[in-house]
Symmetry: C2
Subunit: 329 residues, 2 copies
């Protein structure tokens, strides 16, 4: 990224550059509105459906931007990434387009659909035990052996700038509608998406409140924002939001998020399930649990939205058919 | 509709007028493209997702345009409609907005979701036996008793003009992209949607081939186009496309479709199920079987699409959760 006097590791112009890199290959997802949702929330609600993005989540944006930044001479060594699923697909799809070999380290309990789709993009998948092995160490070892570049899931300026293009599109589309968002909500695991989105949105709409949504107990961003320093969540178990289980905000992402985010909200598994079912029944969109956590918080009344203009990012839609069937039943 | 020298019962300017009526209330659905679909078909494919329309199908367009044409003095008598489900919801939602009472005559085997949603819009639902009772007679009797206006599901110029606004948006969006569609595919039951879409699309792109998609055996449009006159289909049983079971093209719709459509194609229930599953897994859209029949025909290779620019209308997404679960499993 360019060296500037900015205290931010990623600037709006980095996101502009990412948008140029992504233009030929990424989907410019629309901003959707639904009368049924507006009536339900009592607000002007717009959804940014990254479920419609290449690979079914926003992760392709950051992955492609990062891989495009790797110098030609290093590309034949390929890339290695660790991911519970959506970053895996993003990296695999980006590597395929750029003709680079890709190896993805995934937890053995990742959704089958995410494993299969990652393999379908031509990547090699290496499984590890989420509870007993260190995925970063496995990835580093593999990278060293193969001369490959590690593609971090969130804590990387090129990755953050790529994810920020979603926020840039939100800002552009809101401006074209003659509207200014009061609130922008996005989920966070390591915080790359919301860091990029906040950077882009607040560059154009400084008054917008950017709110991070997390699964109940997996509220490391909410805790860290309150504490003013990175804190881990205290969750002991699992959440149905398989995409949102990072223990702690990223270092680079939190340097951005600590300055730009207004607050953190959470949604319980039951609220997330209700949001997935609402999206199925009323919006006709397939949203995975982790992708629906912002919508869940909004529908559950966790955000003061009445009368406001609100944008919610639906970050991904890669959900196994059997889990989806249970959630919408 | 305006009296003109045109041999067509609905003209592009009728559709322009409908677009003005619908602008404050209907969703302007986007035109979506997906790299995974382009690669699979070997064509530039655009989807018109009417699943994102108010009520989950295109039917709201025609219903609202028709109800808006009813003179003020007749509005308090309300409206009566017969429908297997999507027209029911369209009429009920339009009546609610216009503050008119609505009674909907529905087959007792209509999907539960469609019945519930129709009631949720405040309409009275009257069930009939699809095999033994005449829904049109029931609707006429009710209308006479209540001084209500019957809202036909397709064979009405205002209904056709309303549905045509979907085609008008397709034409506008393709022009904005600098593209001309070679092929436009839409499903048909009575033929109102495709008649409106063909009218609007061919006004701007006379060279576009408009193709009607129907469930296997329920191919009354394909037969009628070949014969040059309205013919019933020969289907004995059912199809999973509950929205597409009309026995025969409409009289007014066929006066348009016989002149503007290029051909008819069909898809089997298995091909439709595969398309619904593809839309779930790859596109993250919830499409009901009848709404997916055009996509099904395209994916099954029933249309010469390679290298072409193709638009497919996904006409509705109101599918029961249990059927959807079976189709995507």
């Amino acid at each position: 990224m360019t060296q500037t006097a900015s205290p931010f590791p990623v600037t709006p112009s980095d996101i502009d550059a990412a948008a140029r890199v992504l233009a030929p290959v990424a989907v410019r997802t629309p901003l959707l509105s639904f009368p049924v949702l507006n009536e339900r929330v009592g607000a002007k609600v717009f959804l940014k459906p990254e479920v419609l993005q290449r690979t079914g989540s926003f992760k392709f944006r950051g992955a492609f931007n990062k891989l495009s930044s790797i110098p030609q001479e290093k590309r034949k060594g390929g890339v290695v990434a660790f991911s519970s699923g959506n970053h895996a697909q993003g990296v695999a799809a980006a590597a395929k387009i750029l003709d680079m070999p890709a190896t993805i380290v995934m937890p053995s309990d990742a959704p089958a659909l995410k494993r299969e789709r990652t393999k379908a993009y031509g990547a090699e998948v290496v499984l590890y035990d989420r509870d007993r092995e260190d995925r970063e160490a496995i990835a580093r070892d593999l990278a060293q052996k193969r001369g490959a570049t590690v593609v971090p899931p969130y804590d990387d300026p090129f990755v953050i700038a790529g994810q920020g293009t979603a926020g840039r599109e939100i800002a552009e589309d809101m401006a074209a509608l003659g509207l200014a968002p009061d609130i922008v909500i996005a989920p966070a695991s390591g915080g790359g998406l919301i860091a990029g989105v906040a950077t882009a949105v607040k560059a154009r709409f400084p008054g917008a409140a950017v709110i991070v949504a997390e699964p109940e107990n997996f509220d490391d961003h909410a805790r860290s924002l309150r504490a003013g320093a990175r804190e881990a969540h205290h969750a002991a178990g699992r959440t149905i939001c398989d995409a949102l289980m990072a223990a702690m905000p990223g270092e680079i992402t939190f340097a951005i998020n600590s300055r730009l985010l207004s607050q953190g909200v959470t949604a319980s598994d039951a609220e997330v399930a209700a949001a997935v079912a609402f999206a199925f029944r009323e919006l006709k969109l397939v949203v995975e649990p982790g992708g629906a956590v912002g919508l869940a918080a909004l529908l559950a009344g966790r955000i003061e939205a009445r009368g406001k203009t609100v944008v919610v990012v639906l970050s991904g839609g890669n959900v196994d058919a059997d889990l989806f069937a249970r959630l919408v039943a």
